[in-house]
């Protein structure tokens, strides 16, 4: 597997942040924070509106390391970096299309969960319609040709036997004697 993650660095960063948290807790004054007393976690980000935009775009982008996760869900370091990129560019005033363009020029259409409509993806987008039309056409032809087939009527003998059966006569088994 060519893909590596700096696990060691992550562990170190984690232990460092725990250390900082402990130090910060020890340094805070004993007065309880409002969010804490109401039992809610404090928002991790300064700007919830920006963060909502980042999250909404991040859900549409594929993480290239763990390919079945979006960069919003993935914990791979690359996903974290890309989320930071998205956040930075939004903060710098870029719109969603510009950020998508930035990522597509670097990672290709593969980063998009919704592939764009272009010559190579024509079959992808129109394939289902094609199948539907072909299947529908085949069904229509079948039904028409069946409608043209002459209806088979019962012969007099058959009709008499059917009526006898309906009237409750015992069925004679024609194929075997038992």
């Amino acid at each position: 597997m060519p893909v590596e993650r700096p696990t060691f660095q992550r562990l170190r960063a984690l232990s460092l942040s725990i250390l900082f948290a402990v130090v910060a807790l020890a340094a805070t004054d004993p007065q309880p924070v409002e969010a804490e007393s109401s039992g809610q976690a404090q928002p991790l980000v300064a700007d919830p509106v920006l963060e909502a935009r980042v999250q909404s775009l991040a859900h549409k982008l594929r993480c290239l390391v763990c390919q079945n996760e979006s960069i919003a869900e993935s914990r791979a370091p690359l996903a974290i970096d890309l989320r930071n990129q998205v956040r930075e560019q939004f903060a710098a005033g870029k719109n969603e299309d510009e950020v998508i363009e930035f990522l597509v020029t670097r990672y290709g259409d593969f980063v998009l969960y919704l592939p764009p409509f272009k010559p190579v993806t024509v079959l992808l987008w129109l394939g289902p319609v094609l199948f539907l039309v072909a299947g529908g056409g085949w069904l229509l032809l079948r039904l028409r040709s069946r409608a043209r087939e002459p209806k088979q009527h019962l012969s007099d003998a058959e009709r008499a036997r059917a009526q006898a059966l309906l009237a409750g006569a015992p069925a004679e088994n024609e194929e075997s004697g038992s």
Binding site: P2, E4, Q9, V65, G108
Partner: protein, 176 residues
């Protein structure tokens, strides 16, 4: 229409053909949109001497390899002897030390040998993003005009060097 019963069989064979072909592909190898595009420019601090800068402009006019590596990357260790061999053949290999710690990187080069003509540090992985790096090691072949001609994802093998890199390097060098 006597052969009607063959229709499902034919559909099955076509499907099996496609699926079988899919099995031979490596989903990890995402084709880079950067092939045949100008290599993103950078000027970064040298790993050995952070006071000095080195960048793409310094390599203009040369056919060179950009190898993205890190000391925490196990596959980089695996490909390392190949890079050393390449460097010995006179191919300029520039190292992009990706999201690494300087001390660890320097120790790694000291322990395993240094194939890099220059190594620059990309501690926060920004240049890596410009190059669409998603898994180390990755190796880019860049021509005299600064255009990316080929990208190898994963460890470079002796086979890749013999059959892909060296022929392409020779071709690009001839092209002037």
């Amino acid at each position: 229409m006597k052969a009607k019963f063959l229709v499902p069989l034919a559909i099955f064979l076509v499907l099996a053909g496609f699926l079988g072909y899919g099995l031979t592909l490596n989903p990890r190898e995402v084709p880079s949109p950067l092939i045949d595009k100008p290599a993103p420019g950078f000027s970064l601090a040298r790993l050995e001497a952070p006071g000095q800068q080195f960048g793409t402009e310094d390599m203009r006019g040369k056919v060179w390899l950009l190898n993205v590596w890190a000391s925490w990357c196990v596959s980089c260790r695996q490909e390392h002897p190949q890079l050393v061999a390449l460097a010995r053949q006179g191919v300029p290999v520039i190292g992009l030390n990706y999201k690494d710690e300087r001390d660890a990187a320097l120790k790694w080069l000291k322990d395993h040998g240094n194939p890099y003509a220059q190594t620059v540090a990309d501690p926060d992985g920004r240049i890596g993003i410009d190059y669409g790096v998603y898994g180390t090691p990755e190796t880019f072949l860049i021509d005299r005009g600064g255009v990316i001609r080929y990208k190898h994802i994963g460890p470079v093998t002796p086979d890749t060097i013999r059959n892909v890199l060296l022929p392409r390097i020779a071709e690009l060098s001839r092209a002037g």
